[in-house]
Structure formats: structure tokens, C-alpha cells
């Protein structure tokens, strides 16, 4: 690394329920971003012409989210015309990939100040509406594709996580998230969404269901049993012949929620920070991306975490807090089993099961949540990781400064 890459700020919208009756459904995805860009500029007194690039993750970059939204949002936010923008798609890792890419740009010395982040209005641009190989039978047959939910259930089956295990995890996520929201732990990052007249639209995460119980969750039907029985299980088990049958434990209650939201992370060099009077909140220590077995698909977090630790020359026990994206409960259970990290270090403020997973934005949101919590607890190192479609894993280690 030529230069250290610092995080100066991290903000996000609240996460709105990703349905037509969700509060952010009425907000254009470009507005979610330009609204945040406006706030980022204001709260850092940012001279925007010094920003080299805006890199945002978006998993369904078509329609309203198409056409290089980051640059267009910068224009509508009135940022300096010199600021460039690009949209990247690494499925669920997009938001964290944006942060990592920004860190790499800065660390390489080629750029000095980059806005990373992501956006996803899942209510307005539905998941999968951009098509892709998953809907291409030729490709599907070649690689033995099954949807993530089947992989998540397979992880549970192999790991021996039964329905009660995943539901118990989900209840914990809800309780922790509710406590964090009510305790104001998110307020440093969350920027309330308003309309153009400044009238309120949504001021805090609305997907959390604090009163979730085991009994309530038990009533929910498995989400992937139907498609599994119809043939998906057979495809998956062809890869995992030792597994007799897949136990379909995941339901809407223990999987990540469909929500709308956006997040931004301001990444830059020490010199850029000095020039602008910005105080670094964290340093990006190392980043990693990796590929894993694609049928089970969602086992990437542990390998990615180890890869990042190797790069940093660190060991697991040096990490004080972990944010492991709760795409499905089994993903986090598997990560814990693979690493042996104590539970009290993992997702201390809940995760996507309670808060929701705005696909392209989530990774960037994890960084903000992590830094806020490292600051609140006065801890040093944090690691964020997500499982990724196609069988990938991503990780980022940050150090509070």
C-alpha cells in the first residue's frame, strides 16, 4: 500500500420496507442518493470538486437505477461537475466492494478522495428484474444453478442448524436491532429522508419487528420448499451426494428483509483529509474478495475473512467486532462455526434479518454500523463480511482511528 485509506464519514438512509406500502417506495432511487450526497457535503463542509469519484453498488441497475445512477445523482445533488461516478455490481457485495474499491483507489495513490456506497430501491426495481444468467437455461444446466435460498437451506442441513436454531437467531437479530435503534446507536449514521420541501418521509429503520417470538416465527412456511421439491433440491444434491435431503428451514422471518435504502462512505487519503479538515474515523486495514463453491453459494464469508486477515497479517482474535450480513440465518451460523468467533462479537446490533438488506447498499451500511459501534465501545478492529451470489465472499477490516 502506498497510502493509508481512511474513512472520514459514513451515512445511510433509514431502511424502508421494500413494498408499495413501505415509506421509501415513494422516493426515487436517485433521490435517495442525491439526498445523502447533499447531507454528506453539508455535514463535512465538503468542497466537492476535490472528490475524484463516486462508486456505488447497485444490484439491479436497470430502469430508474440504470444509466450510471451515481454520476446522475451527483448532478442532481449539485455536486461539482468535476466529480465522476460509476455503478458497480457484485451482487450483495456491491456496497462493500464499492468501499473496497474506493480504498484501493486511495491506497494506490491514483486518487485522493472517493465516495463509496450503494443504493437499492427493491420496491421500485424488483430483485431479478435485470435478468441475467439465472434466467438462462443454457447456463443453468451447465453450472447446476440453484437459488440462494436453496443454498442457505443446504448450509443449514449440512451444519445441523434446525428450524429452531435459525429462528432463535432471527429473534436475537430483531431484539438487538430494536435495542440499537431505540438506544440511538444508529443515529450517527442515519439521515432522515425528507421530500423536497423538507417534509418528513422516514426518519428511522422501519422494517424491525421487535416483538418477534419463536412461536410467531414457527408459524411461517418455509420459503424454498416448493421450488426445492419441484427440482431445485435434486440439482443441489447432485453436488452434495452425501446429503440425503435438504431441510428447508428458512422463512421470511429468518431471512434478510426486502427493503429500500442507500448508504455513502467517504474514503480518502490522510492528505486529502488534512486539506479538507476532515478527521479520519477509521482506517481500511485490508480487503478481500474470494470465490467458493457456487451451488451452496453462500459460504464465502469465512474464507473471505481469512483472506483479509492474511493480507493484514492479523489473526481472528485481534478482531473486536464482526458484521456478517444476515442474508439468511444459516449464513451467520456457518460463519461462526467455521471461525469459532464468540457470538458476543458478531452482529451486536442485529442485522439484515431485522433491518433488511437493500442489496447494493448493505455492504456500505455495514461499514457505517461497524465504525459507529467501534467508536461507541471504544474498540479497535472490526471486520465486515457478506456472502455473495455466484459463490463469492467479501471482507473488509477496519481500524478505528
Amino acid at each position: 500500500m502506498v497510502h493509508a485509506a481512511f474513512v472520514f464519514d459514513a451515512i445511510r438512509t433509514p431502511r424502508g420496507k421494500g413494498k408499495p406500502d413501505g415509506s421509501l417506495h415513494e422516493v426515487r432511487p436517485i433521490s435517495l442518493v442525491s439526498h445523502l450526497l447533499g447531507h454528506l457535503r453539508e455535514r463535512n463542509s465538503l468542497d466537492t470538486q476535490l472528490v475524484d469519484d463516486i462508486v456505488l453498488g447497485c444490484v439491479t441497475p436497470i430502469g430508474e437505477q440504470g444509466g450510471n445512477l451515481p454520476k446522475m445523482a451527483a448532478l442532481s445533488a449539485g455536486w461539482h461537475e468535476r466529480v465522476a461516478g460509476q455503478q458497480i455490481n457484485r451482487f450483495c457485495a456491491s456496497g462493500l466492494e464499492a468501499v473496497n474499491l474506493a480504498a484501493m483507489k486511495v491506497a494506490s495513490g491514483f486518487e485522493d478522495l472517493v465516495v463509496a456506497g450503494g443504493v437499492e430501491s427493491m420496491s421500485r426495481v424488483p430483485m431479478g428484474s435485470d435478468g441475467g444468467a439465472a434466467y438462462d437455461p443454457a447456463w443453468s444446466a451447465q453450472v447446476g444453478f440453484v437459488p440462494q435460498g436453496i443454498g442457505a437451506d443446504l448450509i443449514a442441513t449440512i451444519g445441523g442448524f434446525n428450524r429452531r436454531d435459525v429462528d432463535r437467531f432471527a429473534v436475537g437479530s430483531q431484539q438487538k436491532a430494536a435495542a440499537a435503534r431505540d438506544g440511538g446507536y444508529f443515529s450517527k449514521s442515519v439521515v432522515p429522508v425528507t421530500d423536497e420541501c423538507g417534509l418528513p418521509i422516514l426518519d428511522q429503520d422501519e422494517f424491525i419487528k421487535p416483538h418477534t417470538t419463536m412461536e410467531g416465527l414457527a408459524k411461517l412456511k418455509p420459503s424454498f420448499e416448493g421450488m426445492g421439491r419441484a427440482g431445485m433440491d435434486a440439482v443441489a444434491l447432485a453436488r452434495y451426494p452425501k446429503v440425503k435431503a435438504i431441510d428447508h428451514v428458512h422463512t421470511p422471518g429468518n431471512s434478510s428483509g426486502i427493503v429500500d435504502g442507500a448508504a455513502l462512505v467517504l474514503v480518502g487519503s490522510e492528505q486529502a483529509g488534512r486539506k479538507l479538515g476532515l478527521v479520519p474515523r477509521a482506517r481500511v486495514v485490508s480487503v478481500a474478495i474470494t470465490g467458493t463453491e457456487p451451488t451452496i453459494m453462500l459460504t464465502g464469508p469465512a474464507p473471505a475473512a481469512f483472506k483479509a486477515l492474511d493480507k493484514a497479517g492479523m489473526t481472528l482474535d485481534q478482531i473486536d467486532l464482526f458484521e456478517v450480513n444476515e442474508a439468511f440465518a444459516s449464513v451467520v451460523l456457518r460463519f461462526q462455526a467455521d471461525t469459532g468467533v464468540p457470538w458476543e462479537k458478531i452482529n451486536v446490533n442485529g442485522g439484515a434479518i431485522a433491518l433488511g438488506h437493500p442489496l447494493g447498499a448493505t455492504g456500505a451500511m455495514l461499514i457505517g454500523t461497524m465504525i459507529d459501534e467501534l467508536e461507541r465501545r471504544q474498540l479497535r478492529y472490526g471486520l465486515c463480511t457478506l456472502c455473495v451470489g455466484g459463490g463469492m465472499g467479501i471482507a473488509t477490516i477496519v481500524e478505528r482511528t
Binding site: 408499495p20 420541501c197 417534509l199
Partner: protein, 716 residues
């Protein structure tokens, strides 16, 4: 608060009659909200036994629209409350259309704005097909947007492309045209048929709901995300910008709301629309457009009050002089139903006048606005003649429109007076000649007034009615009545050189001439004035009017208003005329004008520019502010003089006359309003500053200074 009149018949159909007490029309306000709330509550409790609902009006009109006075009162800080109110009103409409019972709007009169929005929230609309009944969403003309579901439901009913055409223009339609446009679903010849059809529809559709509340519903023509609309959405903002030059926020906001409304469910779309109107309602543009609307209503009232005093409306008219203006007046008279004799001294003149009328009528036929039969009948209502005759004895109003020359006009007027009946009034169409002077030599000067039409007559909405020293009130009233029958907006002014509009325009040009003298680039001046909102800048306008005409007006008016006269021996009009340029009419003026159809290219005339540079101060850069002030301040002071001299009776009349007569930017609310906006104190300080080095053009009136001292406004 009790609800609207509620009558349930033996057929279990409830007729809800909106008849808001204490006011001539139904409007959407707090009282409406309370009455609708009570009506909905009653329907709710009754709903099991209700077969269907007919919504109609107890007034002459169905529903007049939003409460503009209430809208005018909404300031920035009131927007949260306004948003909540709009959302409540819309929730009521949503309730009505989701009762699960068929709801029919029996549109028994004009339904404008919010009134049509109520009708759109019904499942079926039947309109009375009678002349004078109008339907439309004209909100854009008031700087706002249809915020009670009009955009959302119209787009879902007729598609994005069709809806945008109506919404961005604020088009108002007859019942039949609204039927063709797909806004109403059926027509009825009379009230009996209206209710019979409404009941029949309810019986045939017992489980009616809105098409968009059915899961399989698709918006006609597709959503904004579909490629079918790509070109529309790509172009529409640019087309709107070209029209408004980005000075009016409403059309762009309407486009944005309409497009976005197709991407979300109806309830979200309605909320997006509420946010759209909330954003517009407190803008100065909306305020000024609403105030301008009130002013123009006031003028209409002044005019109709006068017309009401006239015993007999003009049944026949005559026009003397079949030139551009005479031909245009004859056309307008025939087109609006008053047969007219058109007299000229030359057959060629008559042919020109008839050809002009023919051309205008053919265009209407081609655009499908008129049948060939109606065209023939209209042309037949213009009777060309070279001679006076007995028929002139029976005409009610004679308009003289010969060339702008005092002696010629006097002779023609005297001759005309000898050939008409004793009760006929004579109006002289003149733009500069004093009416009292033209009256000299007439036997019945009390039956004579000025009637200043603007060119082209069929398109320009204003007519100045000029009272000479001896003109009687009855003559003025009859001229006003005739102007109204011509579908023009008359404004009564007292006699002076240039009357009101050209007098003010003269002051406007005085500022321009001096600016160019002092080294301003006239292209720059035009750009700045257009950006301020004028349809065209002064140099371009001078070209369009014609430099010879400009010079003629200058000669006449500089004698009358020396404060506006140039200090130079020659005007820039003369300088360019010496180069052979007359403006647009011969293709050469401040600019070079292409002969092609449509908008001529705006190329500067290098010869003119070079010649001006020889005598003017060296070209230097003026700030936009200085350019605007030097032109508008002088003009505004002239307005103050005209008011003080009683040339024009009120700031309302002054402002509307400039809006309709010369295209004063409507979103600024008028020139007197502009002075109020600036504040008389600030205005006087600015003017005083210019007066010290530019002289009397910028010397404010004593009354203006007094107003400044007492913090008064023209409109208070």
C-alpha cells in the same frame, strides 16, 4: 357540518348533490372537506343497502375547482399543513372509489381543476353536452399542478402521452371534446338523459371499481419504464423548457409527477402528486399567476358589468379599410358570430382581407377545429363592398381601420358618419392617434371612441377601448360589449398619446435605445430581457413590429413624452433604415430574418451592428441587473404616471393590459406588482441612482416617492 344533499331512491341509488351553501359555485376547501366527510360517513353507514352513487351538482356549474384564495395564502411554512390537507382530500376520493359500489359523476356543468379531479375519482363520467360547459385541468396556468389525483388518474385513464399534452397546456375542453379525449365516458343531451344514463350504468355495473384497482391493469401506452414512452420522456422536458425557458416550475413538475406516477402503485402515486403540488404552491410563480388570474377576472367583471348596461348587443358590424388590421377584425367578427360588412376603396384591398380570413379559416378546417360548412358560413358573414349603401344604416358598430394618418382617418370617419344610422357607434382602430383629435369634425363625437386592436387580431387577446373627451359612457359600454363578443379582453383607458399599452412600450424602448447608446450589445440586451421573461427582447420586437412603424411611433410619442425621448439626433431605427432595413418585413433589421416558415433564425445583422458601433459608446459589458433595471424601471415609472393621470383606472387593468397586449411575463404578476415586489422604497432608490446620470426617464413620480415613504403598494 352536514353533508351534501343525499337522496336515496327506490332503486337504492343515492344521488349526492354538491351544493355548497353561501357561495355561487362548489370549490375545494375546508367546508367541502367537512361536507364530503359527512357524506362519506353517511354512505358508509348505509353502504349495504346502496346500489350505487351518483355525484352531481346543485349549481349551474359542476365544480369550479380549488379555492384559489386559500392557495394564495399558503406560505413556505404552511406547506406541511397543506400537504396533510391535500392528503385528506385525496383519501376521501380514494374512499369513494373503493366502496365497492358503482359511482357515476353526472357532470351537469363546467368541471374545472379539482372539480374534474372529483369526477375522475368516480368510476364513470357522463357530461351534459351543452355549449359553454367546460372540462379541464388548467392548474399549470396557475403555476401549480392538479394535486387531487388529476395527474395520477388522467394518466391511468388515457395514457402518459395524451395526458401530458392536456396537463402541460392546461387545455380546457368542451364536453364533446372531453369525450373524444377519453376523459368523460358518455354524453347526455339534458338532465333527464344524464340521470337515466347514470342509473342505467350503475345497474349494469353493480360491482364497479377503478380499472387500476384490478390486478391485471396496465396503463394505456405503458409506464415510464417502457420503451414505448422513451422518446416522449426524453423529449418532453426539453420541449417544456423551450416553451418556458426554464422560468416556470410547474410544467417540469407535472412531467416529473406524471412519469413517476406510472412507476408505482396508485396510492404512492397520489402521495407523490401531493408532494408535487406542495412544492409548487408557495412559489412566487404560482402566487403571481394566481394573482394575475384574479386581476384578469376583475377585468372581465369590469367589462361584463359595462356590457350588461347595453340594451342591445351589436347584431351587425362594419369595418372600413380591409388591410391587415381591418381584415383581421372582419374575420374575428364573422368568426364570433357578428356579420360584418368590409369596405375598402380598392378591390385589391378587399381581396386581401377576404384571403386573410380564408387562410385563417382553412387552417381551422385543416386542424379539425371547424367543418367546411362552418367555414363557408363564416366567410359568407363577411360582406365585401367598395361602396356605402343602405345596409350601412342598420349596422350597430363601425370600426374604422384605415392607415395611421390623422387627415385620412378624419376624412374617412366623417364620410362614414354620413352613411350610417343615427345610433351607430364609430370606433377607430388606431395605435397612436389621439381620439379627441380624431373626433374633431364629427357630428356625433359622443358616439365615437378608440378601439385599439393588436396584431394579429385573431391571436392577440387585448383590445384597448379609448375614451375621447366627448365619448359617452354608452358608447364605451357598447364598444366594450362588442369587444367581448369578439372574445377579446377589453380594457377601458382614457385618451393620451399612445394610449396605455404603446405609451408604456415607448418607455420600455426608451431604456433600450439609451442602453445601446451607452455601449450595450443589443443581442446581450435581448438575451437578458428574454431570460427575465419577455417573449422577445426589445431589438427583436422592434424588428417584428417594423422599424418604420417603430420610428413613426417614436416621432409621435417623443413629442408627447419628452422624458422618454432620445438625446441623440437619430434613433437606432433610423440608423438601420438608412441601411435599407425595415425589420422582419424585409428580412433586415437588428437581425437578419429568414423567409422560411416557422420561427425565423435569429442571426444578428452585422451591418446594423457595425453602423451602431460607429456612433454609440464603445461596446462594454453591462450586468444583467443593470440591463433589466434600465429598461424596466423607466417603463414602471411610466405606468405610475399613467395611473396618476387616470389613463388607466387600476393596477389590475394596467398589469393585465401589459400581459395580454405585449406579453409581460405572467409569472411576475404584472409591472405594478413587480414594483410592489421590489418595494417602492427600493424601487425609488434604484431609480434615483439612474436618474442622477441618465436623466428624467428614471425620475419617479411624487406619488411613488410618497408611497415609498409610507411603505404603500399599488395593490394595497
Amino acid at each position: 357540518m352536514s353533508g351534501f344533499k343525499y337522496e336515496k331512491g327506490a332503486d337504492n341509488i343515492v344521488i349526492v348533490t354538491m351544493d355548497m351553501p353561501g357561495q355561487p359555485v362548489n370549490i375545494m376547501n375546508a367546508a367541502y372537506e367537512a361536507m364530503m366527510k359527512a357524506t362519506l360517513a353517511r354512505l358508509e353507514s348505509d353502504i349495504d343497502s346502496v346500489a350505487g352513487i351518483i355525484l352531481t351538482s346543485g349549481k349551474n356549474t359542476f365544480f369550479a375547482g380549488g379555492d384559489l384564495n386559500a392557495l394564495l395564502a399558503i406560505e413556505q411554512d404552511d406547506r406541511a399543513g397543506f400537504f396533510d390537507q391535500i392528503e385528506r382530500l385525496k383519501a376521501q376520493m380514494r374512499r369513494l372509489e373503493t366502496f365497492g359500489k358503482p359511482v357515476v359523476a353526472a357532470i351537469n356543468g363546467t368541471a374545472m381543476g379539482a372539480g374534474l379531479e372529483i369526477a375522475l375519482a368516480c368510476h364513470h363520467r357522463i357530461a351534459l353536452d351543452k355549449p359553454g360547459i367546460q372540462l379541464g385541468l388548467p392548474e399549470v396556468t396557475l403555476g401549480i399542478l392538479p394535486g387531487c389525483g388529476g395527474i395520477v388518474r388522467l394518466v391511468r385513464k388515457i395514457g402518459l402521452a395524451q395526458a401530458l399534452r392536456l396537463l402541460t397546456e392546461g387545455t380546457v375542453l368542451s364536453a364533446a371534446a372531453a369525450r373524444s379525449a377519453g376523459i368523460v365516458d358518455d354524453l347526455a343531451a339534458d338532465a333527464d338523459e344524464l340521470f337515466a344514463k347514470a342509473k342505467a350504468w350503475i345497474q349494469a355495473n353493480p360491482a364497479a371499481c377503478q380499472p387500476f384497482d384490478v390486478k391485471s391493469y396496465r396503463i394505456p401506452g405503458g409506464t415510464a419504464a417502457e420503451s414505448a414512452n422513451a422518446n416522449l420522456l426524453l423529449m418532453a422536458p426539453a420541449i417544456a423548457f423551450k416553451k418556458t425557458r426554464g422560468l416556470m416550475p410547474a410544467p417540469a413538475q407535472i412531467l416529473a409527477v406524471a412519469a413517476e406516477s406510472t412507476l408505482v402503485d396508485v396510492d404512492t402515486a397520489l402521495r407523490i402528486e401531493s408532494r408535487g403540488i406542495t412544492k409548487l404552491v408557495a412559489t412566487p410563480e404560482a402566487k403571481n399567476l394566481i394573482r394575475t388570474f384574479f386581476s384578469s377576472q376583475y377585468l372581465t367583471k369590469c367589462a361584463t358589468d359595462r356590457a350588461r348596461l347595453v340594451a342591445q348587443p351589436a347584431a351587425r358590424a362594419a369595418v372600413i379599410g380591409a388591410g391587415i388590421m381591418g381584415g383581421g377584425i372582419a374575420y374575428q367578427s364573422a368568426f364570433t358570430g357578428t356579420p360584418v360588412i368590409m369596405k375598402d376603396i380598392a378591390q385589391a384591398g378587399l381581396d386581401l382581407g377576404i384571403n386573410e380570413a380564408d387562410k385563417l379559416l382553412s387552417r381551422r378546417v385543416k386542424n379539425g377545429q371547424m367543418s367546411a360548412d362552418k367555414k363557408a358560413a363564416t366567410l359568407g358573414a363577411i360582406e365585401p363592398t367598395l361602396e356605402y349603401g343602405e345596409r350601412f344604416k342598420s349596422i350597430d358598430v363601425l370600426v374604422e381601420a384605415v392607415i395611421e394618418n390623422l387627415a385620412v382617418k378624419r376624412a374617412v370617419l366623417a364620410e362614414a358618419e354620413r352613411n350610417i344610422g343615427i345610433s351607430t357607434i364609430i370606433c377607430s382602430n388606431t395605435s397612436t392617434l389621439p381620439i379627441s383629435e380624431l373626433a374633431q369634425g364629427l357630428q356625433r363625437p359622443q358616439q365615437f371612441c378608440g378601439m385599439h386592436f393588436f396584431n394579429p387580431v385573431h391571436a392577440m387577446p387585448l383590445v384597448e377601448i379609448i375614451r375621447g373627451r366627448q365619448t359617452s359612457d354608452d358608447t364605451i359600454n357598447r364598444a366594450v360589449a362588442y369587444a367581448l363578443s369578439l372574445q377579446k379582453q377589453p380594457v377601458v383607458v382614457n385618451d393620451c398619446a399612445g394610449f396605455f399599452v404603446n405609451r408604456l412600450l415607448f418607455a420600455y424602448f426608451a431604456g433600450f435605445l439609451r442602453l445601446v447608446q451607452d455601449g450595450a450589445d443589443y443581442e446581450d440586451v435581448d438575451r437578458v430581457m428574454e431570460q427575465w421573461g419577455w417573449p422577445m427582447g426589445p431589438a427583436y420586437l422592434a424588428d417584428v413590429v417594423g422599424l418604420d412603424t417603430m420610428q413613426h411611433c417614436y416621432d409621435v410619442l417623443s413629442a408627447a413624452y419628452p422624458r422618454c425621448a432620445s438625446t441623440e439626433s437619430k434613433t437606432w431605427y433610423q440608423v438601420i433604415m438608412e441601411l435599407g432595413g425595415l425589420g422582419q418585413k424585409n428580412g433586415k433589421g437588428f437581425y437578419l430574418h429568414g423567409a422560411a416558415d416557422g420561427q425565423p433564425p435569429k442571426l444578428v445583422n452585422p451591418e446594423a451592428k457595425a453602423r451602431i458601433a460607429e456612433t454609440a459608446q464603445p461596446i462594454r459589458k453591462f450586468s444583467d441587473q443593470e440591463i433589466v433595471e434600465r429598461i424596466m424601471v423607466g417603463m414602471a415609472i411610466e405606468l405610475a404616471y399613467a395611473l396618476e393621470e387616470g389613463i388607466v383606472a387600476s393596477p389590475e387593468e394596467a398589469d393585465v393590459a401589459l400581459l395580454y397586449g405585449v406579453g409581460f411575463p405572467s409569472f411576475r404578476g404584472g409591472l405594478a406588482r413587480w414594483m410592489d415586489f421590489v418595494g417602492l422604497d427600493a424601487f425609488c432608490r434604484t431609480a434615483d441612482n439612474y436618474a442622477t446620470w441618465l436623466g428624467p426617464l428614471y425620475r419617479v413620480t411624487d406619488r411613488q416617492r410618497d408611497m415609498a415613504a409610507h411603505v404603500r403598494t399599488f395593490y394595497s
